[in-house]
Symmetry: C2
Subunit: 220 residues, 2 copies
């Protein structure tokens, strides 16, 4: 029994919503993320539960089973590898690849994924800094800090983002904030938590809390 495009999407989204702490995911949250109605989500949850891919008790929200987790990570692996391909090989911007990878992630061949991985030289992270699970489903859990949590006077390296919307990513592009850049916190304004930062010791930039809460860094 094969898993459909739709089932794979649900698993991936449940994984993403349940976060590192494996929280219960609510029907409404899924309805929001899948852009379907709650009633349709309920139907799908019954089906996934019947297949043993999720733990589901009525009104209690869901969690992935071991099996569901494995499958979700395979889809996420494919998604992120394809994003690397699109950016590194085809020259797309990091703000353009999500929707295309959303389609490519459901192409089913194991051999394809492994050869793609080799072709890309086994990347560890996708273009947004998210870690790529390996073929066995192991995903490193980098513990980055939000830029908003770094104190005045400290330096850090930009390692990822929490927001993945094109609008946000394009804003970072225009600000010169790219993965790997060095950021030094010069000032933080108390009233709105906006900050004056210095990038790569070259440019100075004002960032709102909106931005700094969605940028992940590695403290130096």
């Amino acid at each position: 029994m094969q898993n459909s495009f739709t089932e794979e999407n649900y698993l991936k989204i449940i994984h993403n919503l349940s976060g590192r702490e494996d929280l219960e995911v609510s029907t409404n949250a899924l309805a929001e993320s899948t852009a379907t109605r709650a009633a349709s989500v309920t139907d799908m949850l019954r089906k996934l539960a019947d297949k043993g891919l999720i733990h589901y008790k009525k009104y209690q929200g869901v969690r992935l089973t071991e099996q569901g987790q494995t499958l979700a990570l395979k889809v996420i692996r494919k998604h992120r590898l394809w994003e690397v391909f699109l950016v590194e090989k085809l020259g797309f911007g990091w703000d353009e690849v999500h929707d295309i990878a959303e389609e490519l992630e459901h192409i089913p061949s194991e051999r394809l994924v492994e050869r793609l991985d080799a072709f890309l030289e086994h990347p560890q992270f996708d273009p947004h800094g998210d870690p790529i699970p390996d073929a066995r489903g192991n995903m490193p859990v980098p513990n980055y800090t939000k830029l908003s949590e770094v104190n005045t006077g400290h330096k850090a390296l930009m390692m990822g983002v929490l927001e993945h919307t094109p609008a946000f990513l394009q804003h970072l592009d225009r600000s010169g904030l790219t993965l790997g850049c060095q950021i030094e916190i010069r000032e933080i304004n108390e009233f709105d938590k906006s900050a004056l930062i210095r990038i790569d010791n070259q440019r100075t930039l004002f960032v709102s809390q909106e931005v700094s809460k969605n940028v992940l860094v590695q403290r130096l």
Copy 2:
């Protein structure tokens, strides 16, 4: 109104079955090629006709409209470009890529196709020697000859195949018949039309008519 995976498949198959002479394609032929029942094909044909993608009169078979033709060629373009990618970049054999390309061909982004085309340096032919339509839907119509039609003593270059089954392609691999090789016809046996040929002036090989009827060459 988007075209579904299934619709695209029908268009592609109608194109392939109607050949260069744009023959009418029968319901049964489509049922065979799509691995569905004739009754299901009939339903689909009504739908495609309603969308203006095919000319269809009951019991009369179908032909693509201008619009259907354009769409079919876009799908074929994608299919063949992805095959080039799989062979040239990922190192797959020409016998392994059909099924995977069958999935990839339905990924919808125009930008993706054009960037892939550029990345592959605008290939003219896929790994089986089939011509790749350009972005506007123009496809060169190379007029190759079947190897079985070349006379004793003549030379030719191998340019393509008519069969695309893994079994046939693997047989060619084992025989050392690859695209671009030079073939000289040494002898043809009258009773079964099998032939003794010389490849690249290096190896001599016996080929059945089965094989020579499915190998396309350019006479020298």
